[in-house]
């Protein structure tokens, strides 16, 4: 009996840590998808970009680990802003499918550029933390993972503050609710779009920079991240940052428990099964009020 409690606690610990980074990933996408209505296939690539930048800074340039994560995030934000400004803004179409195809093209280009520059072999980002796991009773967790959890939680809190208590946040929320009315009220929608894409991509980048040292960095790491992000967005409801936060933890815990108690092979299927169930039973997601069925 004690064994199963140990297992249970270990799963919770693993799930919470993953969940915190998933939440960041999910919030980023729900912003972009919700406010700009873009099926953003490059989201996973920004996740990978964050990881690669962290790798380059720490392993190749010898930058301080913590500073590198900060810098990697900044690069993610910058690159997102540039992408929006140079490509998305100038598209003559707002057709969701056409924009999606552009994101697909960029996804292919970004991923293969990463392979071109750093090669297909997975890279390890050395962290300053010790490899000896900390043991709390039956549960063991590495110091690095504790750092990731702490950082992610701080960022989540900071982000919620941004969305709910700043003018930028207000502008974003109003653009999400009704773009035209927001414009009438003086919101510069173009700037908000750039800020949204930059911020959303930056969140993906920081998730990548944080998880990079935990796992490994390779060119295709973004693909699974993209799909999970989409799952989180659906679960939480499009445009709901609270929903995405809770959704991130939920998906991570579902994966952990599903993999631990039901079947590990289907680990990544659980997120999809959850989506299917949610969409059939409560299509607007668990947290939005907005009517989604057409």
């Amino acid at each position: 009996m004690a064994d199963s409690l140990d297992q249970f606690l270990q799963h919770i610990v693993n799930g919470v840590m993953l969940g915190s980074t998933y939440a960041l990933l999910g919030i980023g996408l729900t912003l972009i998808f919700g406010i700009m209505r873009i099926v953003n296939f490059t989201h996973g690539e920004f996740y990978a970009l964050g990881a690669y930048m962290a790798y380059m800074l720490v392993a190749l340039l010898g930058v301080n680990f913590f500073f590198a994560i900060l810098l990697a995030t900044a690069i993610g934000i910058l690159f997102g802003a540039v992408l929006e400004f140079v490509v998305l803004r100038r598209l003559k179409t707002t057709d969701i499918d056409s924009v999606m195809i552009v994101m697909i093209g960029l996804w292919i280009a970004m991923q293969n550029t990463e392979q071109l520059i750093w090669g297909g072999v997975a890279k390890l980002i050395p962290s300053p933390f010790s490899q000896q796991p900390l043991v709390f009773g039956p549960v063991s967790v590495s110091p690095l993972k504790i750092f990731v959890l702490a950082t992610a939680v701080i960022l989540l809190i900071a982000f919620h503050f941004l969305i709910n208590h700043t003018r930028l946040g207000l502008a974003m929320r109003s653009t999400f609710q009704d773009r035209d009315v927001a414009a009438l009220m003086g919101v510069n929608v173009g700037t908000i779009y750039t800020a949204t894409f930059a911020l959303g991509s930056g969140l993906a980048a920081v998730a990548g920079a944080l998880l990079g040292p935990v796992f490994l960095v390779n060119p295709t790491m973004g693909d699974l991240a993209s799909l999970k992000a989409f799952a989180i967005v659906i679960l939480g409801g499009l445009g709901s940052t609270v929903g995405a936060t809770i959704g991130g933890f939920a998906i991570a815990l579902v994966e952990e428990f599903g993999a631990g108690y039901i079947s590990a092979d289907y680990r990544d299927a659980f997120s999809f099964l959850v989506i299917v169930a949610v969409l059939i039973l409560k299509p607007q997601g668990l947290f939005t009020m907005k009517e989604r069925v057409g």
Binding site: F33, R37, V39, V87, R90, L91, K92, T93, D95, I96, D97, S98, M100, I101, V102, I104, G105, L106, W107, I108, A109, M110, Q111, N112, T113, Q115, L116, D223, L227, F230, A231, V233, I234, L238, S263, D265, Y266, D268, A269, F272, L273, I275, V276, L279, I280, P283, Q284, G285, R292, V293, G294
Partner: protein
């Protein structure tokens, strides 16, 4: 009129291609590209004409492929509770048709479930469906062989007039088969699109609320178009199975859906010839690029080409060509006497 003559000439060109371009390599490329063009034509019905952004289309392709593979090789599976299902190998044409039916059935299921939601939610639901199918194919090893793959799949065997029952072994034979299926799909979709059903689909694509308000049974038509699209995709899956002759869960890869979408959107969604033009360009481009750049750069060029096409031709290639054609004919019409001009238009 001129468009019809032109179209017929192009068709003639394709039909006689094995005679004047007898390079088996190019035929091979056209065969594989053609299989995906058939799938793109079906996606166009759903995406272009009905306006539904389905990102799980590869699921129907894969279902058609697996069904045809399993039936043509025969299989036995333990259904639990001591029940064994033992199926002897069936002739290829029958397995192929079964694949179409199976895909259509799943089209119906997905249609009924997925069309409770719209927009982003529909997109994610369709992606999830394809992923779940892939995971089932991967893990239900008893039935599908999972990652060990189903191989030694028999090639197509058809009854041809004058030759009796023949196995299609040559490139040219396979090419004509694919061309035949492509033409049938094209004609089928064209027929639907130009009929009352098609007009209803377009109406609901443009403004669903309005269409509903004039009495169009929206869900009914959505499910119908999904079934037809799924069936055609299942057919292309069957063609793939008996040409490549090995099927594994990779047949559900998301990249295949991506390929089909690229073909449809760059060609021009909502146009009949869009998927064909887009298909030829983006199906053949990667092969052409093999000689010109290292592998990663080939992909980068491919990705950037997609972005550029949408950038400059937001509606796709076919509508842009249509505009060019219009300008040419307006310019050219000054040389044609009045009566003839009216005849030709």
């Amino acid at each position: 009129m001129i468009q019809r003559i032109f179209g017929f000439l192009v068709f003639l060109g394709f039909a006689t291609l094995p005679f004047w371009m007898n390079d088996p390599y190019i035929l091979g490329l056209l065969i594989l590209t053609g299989i995906f063009i058939v799938a793109a034509i079906s996606l166009n019905l759903l995406l272009g004409y009905t306006g539904q952004l389905s990102l799980g289309h590869v699921a129907f392709f894969g279902i058609g492929a697996y069904t045809s593979a399993l039936l043509s090789r025969g299989f036995d599976v333990d259904l639990g509770f001591g029940v064994m299902l033992d199926v002897a190998p069936k002739p290829v044409w029958l397995s192929f048709l079964a694949g179409i039916v199976m895909a259509a059935l799943f089209g119906w299921i997905v249609g009924r479930l997925a069309f409770r939601v719209r927009g982003a939610y529909f997109v994610i639901l369709t992606v999830s469906f394809a992923q779940v199918m892939r995971l089932i194919a991967l893990n239900w090893v008893d039935l599908t062989e999972g990652p060990m793959a189903i191989n030694n799949i028999p090639p197509f065997t058809l009854w041809l007039p004058g030759l009796g029952v023949t196995t299609l072994t040559s490139k040219a034979q396979n090419y004509w088969l694919i061309l035949g299926v492509a033409v049938i799909s094209f004609v089928l979709v064209a027929h639907i699109v130009n009929s009352r059903v098609g007009r209803a689909l377009i109406a609901l694509r443009e403004n669903e609320g309005l269409a509903r308000s004039v009495g169009i049974p929206v869900t009914h038509y959505l499910v119908l178009s999904t079934i037809v699209a799924a069936a055609i995709a299942g057919a292309s899956g069957g063609l793939y199975t008996h040409y490549v002759r090995i099927v594994d869960p990779d047949v559900f890869m998301f990249i295949y859906t991506v390929t089909m979408i690229i073909m449809v959107v760059t060609g021009g969604k909502g146009t009949l010839t869009g998927p064909i033009i887009g298909g030829l360009i983006f199906g053949l481009m990667p092969e052409v690029l093999r000689d010109y750049a290292r592998p990663e750069v080939q992909w980068i060029i491919y990705g950037i080409a997609i972005v550029l096409i949408i950038f400059f031709l937001p509606n796709g290639i076919v509508p842009a060509l249509g505009k060019i054609w219009q300008r040419i004919s307006v310019w050219g019409s000054r040389f044609v006497p009045e009566r003839l001009r009216l005849r030709l238009s």
